[in-house]
């Protein structure tokens, strides 16, 4: 079967500095794919290329068999936490509803009852229905993160792309968030970027390390080789010494 996201030999550079160097990556239907790597390794750049927000200088990208520009309205995207202004005067419900805009055939169309039902459903599912009327400025970090996830899910996407979704939340919230994602995994393909490989490892089905070049392994196991190649420093420095404990007995391992 054709991969849901297919990145072939993609390169990207800015003013002569190479950010991505011949990166190839395949995400298959039903994957919970983690892209890890150090800051500045090009993770967000690669996501933006997959979303059609940046044009690669070489290589091809296809998403759901189409160009990124065509396919991206079928992608739910959870950007890095602070790409917008949290003091913008907007309520949680309005923000979530805005995720239904691609369904409007005309720019002047208003939200339909089914849009509103979809918003209520997703708010309910993420446990933030009681916050619907709150301004986003009055939410805690974890609540804000759920609201952003709700906006990504309200359009019934086939792929969910998350960029460092838990950088700004505390550890218990982070675990809650990933439990939520594990639940979503049944109906969605998920591609997640993180610089922290500790917590995510138990939820993912596949993993790759990105540091300008991509280092993969055909399963969810993160090997010391991969990490050393990607991070270019001793493993225990960046992985808190966890690889042996966390990465071995994953049920989805080898599910490639």
């Amino acid at each position: 079967m054709r991969p849901v996201i297919e990145v072939r030999d993609v390169s990207f550079g800015i003013r002569g500095f190479s950010i991505l160097d011949h990166v190839s990556l395949e995400v298959r239907k039903g994957d919970f794919y983690a892209l890890i790597g150090p800051n500045g390794g090009g993770k967000t750049t690669l996501l933006k290329i997959i979303l059609g927000l940046l044009e690669p200088s070489g290589g091809t990208v296809s998403v759901l068999g189409q160009s990124p520009e065509k396919a991206r309205s079928r992608i739910g995207y959870v950007p890095q936490f602070r790409t917008f202004d949290f003091s913008y005067p907007i309520t949680v419900r309005e923000m979530v509803l805005s995720g239904r805009l691609p369904k409007n055939r005309f720019p002047w169309a208003r939200f339909s009852p089914s849009d509103r039902e979809a918003a209520e459903r997703v708010l309910e599912r993420l446990g933030i229905a009681d916050l619907a009327r709150r301004p986003i400025a009055a939410l805690s970090g974890g609540e804000q993160q759920r609201a952003i996830l709700a906006r990504a899910l309200v359009g019934d996407p086939e792929i969910l792309i998350l960029d460092e979704p838990t950088v700004y939340v505390d550890a218990p919230t982070e675990v809650q968030f990933y439990t939520l994602l594990e639940d979503l995994k049944r109906s969605l393909t998920i591609l997640l970027v993180s610089h922290d490989i500790g917590v995510i490892s138990r939820y993912i089905t596949r993993v790759a390390c990105l540091n300008h070049r991509l280092y993969t392994h055909d399963s969810s196991e993160i090997t010391e080789d991969m990490i050393e190649a990607a991070y270019q420093c001793p493993v225990d420095l960046i992985a808190h010494g966890v690889p042996h404990r966390v990465f071995k007995d994953h049920p989805g391992g080898g599910g490639a």
């Binding site: 800015i14 950010i19 800051n39 500045g40 390794g41 090009g42 993770k43 967000t44 750049t45 933006k48 979303l51 927000l53 940046l54 520009e69 991206r72 309205s73 992608i75 995207y77 950007p79 890095q80 602070r82 790409t83 917008f84 202004d85 949290f86 003091s87 913008y88 005067p89 907007i90 309520t91 309005e94 923000m95 805005s98 995720g99 805009l101 691609p102 409007n104 720019p107 002047w108 169309a109 208003r110 939200f111 709150r134 301004p135 400025a137 009055a138 939410l139 805690s140 970090g141 804000q144 906006r151 359009g155 950088v167 700004y168």
Partner: protein
Amino acid sequence: MIPGAGILAFGFFQNALLSAVLASIACGIIGTFVVVRRMATLSGGISHAAFGGVGLGYLFSFDPIVGALLFSIGAALGIGILKEKAGQELDTLIGAVWAAGMALGVICVSIAPGYAPDLFSYLFGNILLVPSGDIQLMAVFCAVIVGIVSVFYLPLQAVTFDEEYARVMNLPVTALSLLLLLLTAVCVVLLIRLVGIILVIALLVLPAASVREFTSRLPVMMAASVCLSFILSLSGLVLSFLWDLPSGATIILLGAAVYAVALLISRPGKARWRGGIRTGRQSPQQKGQRVQ
């Protein structure tokens, strides 16, 4: 009865009142977008560029307000397109357009034969001197702004809230941004009669910024800043009539005072809301994260 209520009988006062209503509607709606999208200096650039058009109007003896309209629209679209296509910093473009427009205006006025009537009112506004012809023009501008914003309200909200996500949703982000710039230019010209080229930026920003502290919904913010703008222009009008003060400057100073009071009142509540929450404004990461 307020002292001097008899002035209602004068035609010029009715004109002033009407222009205050029209200006407030436009400036409440567009000012809200200007504040939430942080386009204050951008609108300053647009309004100052308009002076180039005013100067050309004097030099070639056509209506300066027509020149102002052409130049502010040109500046708005020019800034928007150059930023998109030429990858220039917004800041740089605004600075260039701002000063170049003023420079052109100054040169035109200085070589135009004879005395430049009303020049001061283009620069600083005079609500008591709005001619009837201009009122009709203002009404048309106001209708354009209200009409377009109500039709495109949802996409405009989406783009001003989160431009990147709007792009991912395949909204026509560039077109919507240019549309908003265009409406800002129209609004600036509408406000020139009231507060003048130099003070427009404050009338756009102050009412919306003042009410923002008390609302968390965009439509409410628009309605409230329309009301506040009207109160400000009316008070400025009356004060300038009674005490013979320049009306534009009076309106702006009142607006600044209201803004200061709004900040003083709202701060405690705001601190409670945002206490412990990191807001979008102070991101430790943003600096190093242009592309990565």
